[in-house]
């Protein structure tokens, strides 16, 4: 066990996976000599050489497209997209190719690859270094979408994603990269996909969050506890396929749900979660499901702390929902 932050835990997960399996390789912009713009891959090119840690040309189409070919061959490529905001030049390869290859070949071929990418706001990154495009990938059948909130889960989910036989988009909350530390095993281990975690048990309202916003949901829950509102906070960890059980059973208990995410509200993942709960637990609902999300604007700079669904915006909604 070592105290690690999120960056170190992911680094450790990559290192373990590469030591365990020769077929695992990394590719991306600036990940080798520089060790990544967030230093997540620091030291890996030194240890595994430039054949397994590829500093690629500036092309997300190439980074994802060639990784698909490698995965089809039998390797386990891990692509890094420097910021989620820059994933769109590789979008076609991801949603039309990686996502559909198994289906269209009836399982004869498949694409075991991971696309890692830092997402979200809170680092003063403005429009193009803050986006949270997860719902686009959740909408795409054939992709798995993972988003850890803490170092322990990050390492375990990453190793599990690399072992997974399907393409996984792995969102890393860059706001959390160096913000928290916790005990993380040095040896490899896995955290299963599609299992959410109750990080705070509560009776009055279910609050679902992931990634960096988990901390905000938690902080808001602690805050409203002082006013007698007892919130159950669920960290999704894997966004899709969803751990529907965890959410529905919590809502059946509380009768209320608040979903928190950074992405713009409209057609964000929150709308799917609200709809699923409405479909599956309608008669248990005692208040309208609520969303606390980014606004329907491009991501701003100066006022990002008002744009983001931070605790100050979550708490009143928790109370409003609890007291509805």
């Amino acid at each position: 066990m070592t105290q690690m932050n999120l960056v170190q835990a992911i680094n450790s997960g990559l290192r373990d996976a590469m030591r365990q399996n020769e077929d695992v390789l990394l590719m991306g912009e600036d990940i080798g000599r520089l060790g990544g713009v967030f230093r997540v891959t620091q030291g890996l090119q030194e240890e595994f050489g430039p054949e397994r840690v590829l500093d690629t040309p500036l092309s997300e189409t190439g980074i994802i497209g060639t990784a698909i070919g490698m995965a089809l061959y039998g390797l386990r490529p891990i692509s890094e997209i420097q910021f989620a905001d820059f994933i769109y030049p590789g979008f076609d390869q991801l949603v039309n190719e990686a996502a559909k290859y198994r289906y269209r070949t009836a399982g004869e071929f498949h694409v075991p690859m991971v696309v890692r990418t830092p997402y979200g706001g809170g680092i003063r990154g403005g429009q193009y270094h803050s986006q949270s495009p997860e719902s686009l990938f959740i909408h795409t059948a054939g992709l798995k979408v993972v988003c850890p909130s803490n170092p322990y889960d990050a390492k375990g989910l990453l190793i599990q994603s690399i072992l997974d036989e399907d393409p996984v988009v792995f969102f890393e909350p860059k706001r959390v990269y160096r913000a928290i530390k916790m005990e993380v095993p040095d040896a490899p281990y896995t955290v299963p996909l599609s299992e959410a975690q109750v990080v705070r048990a509560g009776e009055h309202v279910t609050c679902v969050a992931w990634g960096a916003m988990l901390y905000e949901a938690f902080a808001a829950a602690e805050e409203v506890a002082k006013q007698g509102v007892d919130v159950e906070v669920i960290d999704l960890r894997t966004l899709w396929p969803l751990d529907i059980e965890a959410i529905v059973s919590s809502v059946k208990k509380t009768g209320r749900i608040v979903v928190v995410h950074e992405a713009p509200r409209t057609c964000g993942f929150g709308s799917e979660l609200v709809t699923l709960v409405t479909e599956q637990a309608f008669l248990h609902l005692e208040a309208p499901p609520a969303r606390v999300t980014g606004f329907d604007t491009p991501f701003p700079l100066t006022h990002e702390r008002e744009y983001l669904p931070l605790a100050h915006r979550i708490a009143p909604v928790l109370i409003g929902t609890a007291r509805y």
């Binding site: 189409t61 497209g65 698909i68 076609d92 599609s194």
Partner: protein, 360 residues
């Protein structure tokens, strides 16, 4: 580059030295491909299959390339290269079943006709979005290289695909990583209705390769031996660690873009007629006739063998039931998640759609 001269003889300086049996095998494969094409086009016109995209006039480029690749090499198709897959021994019945999307279709009715693949034949999957296969092919080649395997990858695409994002990324990566890949560009003169000269300002597509430091050649794609020779050279280069090659195969799409297309709208009959005279089958036939290994009788026999084979496959295909409804819900992921299980149940237990004729 031209190996088979107009009079049917070979240019001795360029003759790649294939045995005459092998040359005849090439001819037979080209004829077979065309017979299949003709038949599929007809049954599509009759509404028995939904769609077909053929290779009329491009058989030499496709079969010649396939033959010059070694068994352990990979083929990454565009969508006109089923001839290459059949050359590798893929069962015709399976292909025809696919064209019908029936229960024998290895794709389980999930894609349009002509979207073939076969892992044992080292032949990746046809995909409709133009160009996407090109970086995948480069990745495949990089992977083979990383594993230290002497395998290379031949990737087909059209003139139109050279404008795609994927072409640019793929060529650049291949150049940088010296991937053992052959870029097989079928320049058939058109991207649906757009002439190659309107696709790009450059005069030859081979010139594009220089932008990535990929060695290039431009050859007569209707001359199967010229194709063989150029592709084999590329294989050799790749095999010796020399990295990628780009080969522009100059040919012509004698038919429509697909059965959905009417090429008369955008090109003149005279142009087509001129290219008909450069038909790669005629060219090769002249050569093997001159070599005294082929005759009108042999030709007629082979034609009827091929026709009978296709006909039998079509008959069998039409007797098979459609692919199963529950195949809709598998293979999205390795294991079926809860939401697809739920949707499968809903669908299977729900009512069935009315027949199409009630519609539009």
């Amino acid at each position: 580059m031209q190996v088979i001269r107009d009079d049917g003889s070979l240019d001795p300086k360029l003759d790649p030295g294939l045995s005459i049996d092998r040359v005849v095998a090439l001819y037979k494969a080209m004829v077979r491909t065309r017979v299949i094409d003709d038949r599929l086009q007809k049954i599509q016109r009759q509404g028995r299959i939904a769609f077909h995209v053929g290779s009329l006039g491009e058989e030499a480029a496709i079969i010649g390339s396939a033959a010059a690749l070694r068994d352990r090499d990979w083929v990454v198709p565009c969508y006109r290269e089923v001839g290459a897959l059949l050359w590798r021994g893929y069962p015709l019945q399976k292909y025809i079943d696919h064209m019908y999307g029936n229960a024998g279709d290895p794709l389980r009715g999930r894609q349009m006709p002509d979207h073939t693949f076969s892992k044992v034949h080292r032949y990746l999957s046809v995909s409709a979005p133009i160009g996407t296969q090109i970086p995948q092919a480069v990745g495949l080649a990089m992977a083979a290289k990383k594993r230290g395997q002497d395998e290379c990858v031949g990737v087909f695409f059209g003139d139109g695909a050279t404008s795609s994002n994927d072409f640019h990324a793929a060529m650049n990566f291949a150049g940088v990583y010296r991937a053992p890949v052959l870029f097989l560009c079928r320049n058939n003169g058109y991207a649906i209705s757009l002439r190659t000269e309107d696709q790009t300002a450059v005069r030859t597509l081979a010139e594009k390769a220089a932008a990535y430091r990929v060695p290039a050649s431009r050859i007569d794609g209707n001359d199967v031996l010229a194709v063989w020779r150029a592709v084999r050279e590329g294989v050799q280069r790749a095999s010796e660690g020399g990295g990628p090659s780009f080969i522009e195969l100059m040919t012509y799409r004698l038919g429509g873009h697909s059965t959905s297309d009417d090429p008369r709208i955008y090109r003149k009959q005279e142009e087509v007629d001129a290219w008909r005279r450069a038909d790669p089958l005629l060219r090769l036939r002249k050569h093997i006739e001159q070599e005294d290994v082929w005759t009108d009788d042999l030709d007629a026999d082979w034609l009827s063998v091929c026709e009978a084979e296709v006909k039998a496959c079509v008959q069998r295909a039409e007797q098979k039931p459609p692919s199963e409804l529950r195949d809709l819900f598998t293979d999205v992921y390795e294991a079926q998640p809860w939401h697809l299980r739920e949707q499968e149940t809903q669908c299977l237990e729900g009512p069935r759609a009315k027949d199409e004729e009630d519609e539009s």
